[in-house]
């Protein structure tokens, strides 16, 4: 399927470039609808990869790139299940989202995340599946999961460890603070910082550059330079699930959901 518009995401292909556009209010939170449409995209990607050279993942929301997991949906769903069902439900969700993230990570296309505003939690993890992150000056990257008694569960820790020094990983993970685009570039996470609103244009320009090179060589170079940390990704799911059943998590989620701030992102 070359073109699609769903409730949360849409995609189109033109001139060898696939663009996956996130567009679900308020800030592209990833819940069951988004996950379902991501899975549709990954299915379509198999066909699109044969005729394209690059994939840009971007947001249509002024609020930002992606705020992460839909915590309100997670809380609501978990409240109606017993602990055993809750745990198996969350494991199932994680296995599915990992399937999506792994497919993006391993794609033969050169993948570029064009980030503006917040890339928090699962949103940051989505950007980390990409070969390049191009961020505008408003971008902020964050793993807020410890605030909820959790760790990142969409593959973020192994992917961040792949890209930056472990001191930076510990800083982001253990403090839950957000990092601006300039700092993210200085530690090697972001490849280019643009003026406000220019990340998508620069991502498209970069995609055009990538498209000049021999396809087989480009794919071989990517796979050589970008190992997928399969074992650590599987362990992350196990650690997440072990933490998820603790009372601190229900309390953290409850506090998030009860906030009157529509987007309660300060620690």
């Amino acid at each position: 399927m070359r073109e699609f518009q769903g409730k949360a995401v849409g995609w189109r292909t033109e001139d060898g470039l696939v663009e996956l556009v996130l567009d679900r209010a308020p800030c592209n939170e990833v819940g069951s609808v988004t996950l379902g449409e991501f899975e549709q995209f990954v299915s379509a990607l198999k066909e699109l990869e044969g005729e394209a050279h690059a994939l840009i993942i971007r947001s249509a929301r002024a609020e930002g790139f992606c705020a992460g997991a839909d915590l309100r949906e997670l809380y609501r769903e978990s409240q109606r299940l017993d602990p055993k069902q809750r745990l198996s439900g969350v494991r199932d969700f994680l296995e599915r989202i990992h399937g999506v993230m792994n497919a993006l990570d391993q794609s033969p296309l050169t993948t570029i995340a064009a980030v503006q505003g917040i890339a928090f939690g699962g949103g940051f993890e989505l950007a980390l599946t990409c070969d390049l992150i191009i961020a505008d000056k408003t971008a902020r990257f964050c793993f807020p999961e410890l605030r909820l008694g959790l760790i990142p569960g969409f593959g973020g820790i192994p992917r961040l460890q792949r890209d930056v020094g472990n001191a930076v990983v510990r800083d982001l993970l253990l403090t839950g603070r957000s990092m601006n685009a300039a700092k993210a570039q200085s530690v090697g996470l972001v490849s280019q910082v643009t003026a406000e609103g220019e990340a998508v244009r620069v991502a498209r320009r970069t995609a055009a550059q990538v498209g000049k090179f021999d396809r087989a060589t480009r794919i071989a170079a990517k796979h050589f330079a970008k190992p997928i940390p399969h074992e650590a990704l599987r362990r992350e799911i196990d650690v997440f699930c072990k933490l998820f059943v603790r009372p601190a998590v229900e309390a953290g989620l409850g506090k998030f959901v009860a906030s009157t701030d529509p987007l309660p992102y300060l620690p």
Partner: protein
């Protein structure tokens, strides 16, 4: 190095410009959430602009317990 007074003035000026509020309507002891009518996402945007302007890093947990411009300026001053 800039004085705290200068830093406070710059914070107020930047906030007024970015959120399109008359500068004369803002004073150091105002609650910036209420006065600017912003939520936490917009506060993060303000944080980004303050970091760029003052060329510092200001972890978001420095906002904890801070809701007035003067205290925010003190947090910034401690990183200059």
């Amino acid at each position: 190095m800039a004085t705290l007074q200068k830093t406070t003035d710059e914070v107020l000026e930047l906030a007024a410009q970015h959120f399109k509020v008359p500068r004369e309507d803002l004073s150091p002891d105002d609650d910036f959430f209420k006065k600017l009518g912003i939520n936490s996402l917009q506060a993060l945007d303000l944080l980004t602009r303050l970091e760029q302007h003052f060329r510092i890093e200001l972890p978001d947990y420095e906002f904890e317990g801070v809701s007035d411009f003067r205290t925010l300026a003190e947090r910034i001053q401690s990183r200059l």
